[in-house]
Amino acid sequence: MEEDFLDRAHSVANARFSRWLVPPAALCIHLAIGQAYAFSVFNKPLSQLIGVSAPAPGDWSIPALGWIFSLAIVFLGLSAALAGKWVERVGPRKAMFTAALCFSGGLLLSGAGVALHWLWLVYLGYGVVGGIGLGIGYISPVSTLIKWFPDRPGLATGTAIMGFGGGALIGAPLAVNLMKFYSTPSSTGVAPTLLTMGVIYLLFMMVGVFTVRIPPPGWMPAGFNAPARPKKMVTDLHVLVDQAVRTPQFYLLWGVLFLNVTAGIGVLGQASLMIQEMFPARFPHATPAATAASAAAAAGFVGLLSIFNMGGRIFWASISDYIGRKNTYAIFFVLGASLYACIPALGHSGNLALFILAYLIILTMYGGGFATIPAYLRDIFGTAQVGAIHGRLLTAWAAAGVAGPVLINYIRQYQIDHGVAKADAYSVTMYLMAGLLVVGFFCNFFMKSLHERHYVPLAEAAST
């Protein structure tokens, strides 16, 4: 019975179904798994589980805790790449159900790991099982949305992927409030918080599982007529995932995503420190109270970045439906490289408002890069296996997750070790990030339509 309900054949929409019910179903998944971006709120309380008010002997170290998030992102990339074909075959409902079980199961396992003080169980729970939920959940609604919105694929996938950015905005205050509720003089309250969040997210994601539908074969929105001749760089044919990864276009898009994300992660990771060190008068550290106020203001800045990261996802993905994907990424790389290169000068000028504005625009394009890529893939490779191809492309995200922080941290440390002032050490890293975006511009510049030999009939693509 359960198998029947989750089966692709049982999730076909009837004639009365509104396609606008599908984006909220996708958001149920993405808003939940986007909690991963807020996992850092647990780092401090997890590092003082024994000492409660301060770390004590036997407490977990921050570097050891950092592996939880890193593992989750690695397993996100691996599961998205490996499970993509399975997701396409079984349909969105079974995939979303699996993602819900894995993600909430990961939270529950890690809650048990915290209660038992077994770090390996937290790694296995949130990092491995939860990470698999992240990967399957991230790609599960993408091809369904593209099929429901052939007229606005950017808007549709941008809405879902906006949810991943927005998940942190919900996950962080939810975790903070739950920890406040459960904490006692002898406990930080992390274990019951993780267990509660596991249950909340399971229920939240299940609403998406029940709501999602796939369109009947051949369905088109009322009043929509596919153009007789496809637009330039937009195909109405289909490529199999195993064939897609043999084309230069796949690797150019891999480079586009990798470079945009590497540069974005690089600035995101150092945003809090950077604003404090570039504007010491606005962020004083003379007394403990001033340090705390400065840290809170810098955290507010990071929160503002998260909102623009989220907003940029739907803004740029929607715009791309009108100006085209190639032009959208050209804007990211030209405007992005210019803004990255201006950041050091804006910092030295002392103009905080302009500095923040530049950062906010950069963050919209970081989010926009994530949100526009599924529609770009759809344009080049067709709709039949776009979810699986998207899954393979997300390895670029996992690679950027390692490359971005390593590049920034090592280059910055190298300069400081060689006598460069802290506020000046950012200049070289910003210019390097701008350089990466110039390389990304050329990856995008060389993108062109696929040769006809790569395409297969829809029936063959659907049955593979």
């Binding site: 019910l21 905005l169 609403v207």
Partner: protein
């Protein structure tokens, strides 16, 4: 259930937590300008 009601319920279900998260984050961000 009519489609209009289902749409309002579905969008409200995801929109209300998201709006709450944005408001909390914005109120924290205001500390930046104080």
């Amino acid at each position: 259930m009519p489609n209009g009601a289902r749409l309002a319920l579905s969008w409200g279900f995801v929109g209300i937590p998201l709006a709450w998260g944005i408001l909390v984050t914005l109120s924290n961000a205001l500390k930046l300008f104080r």
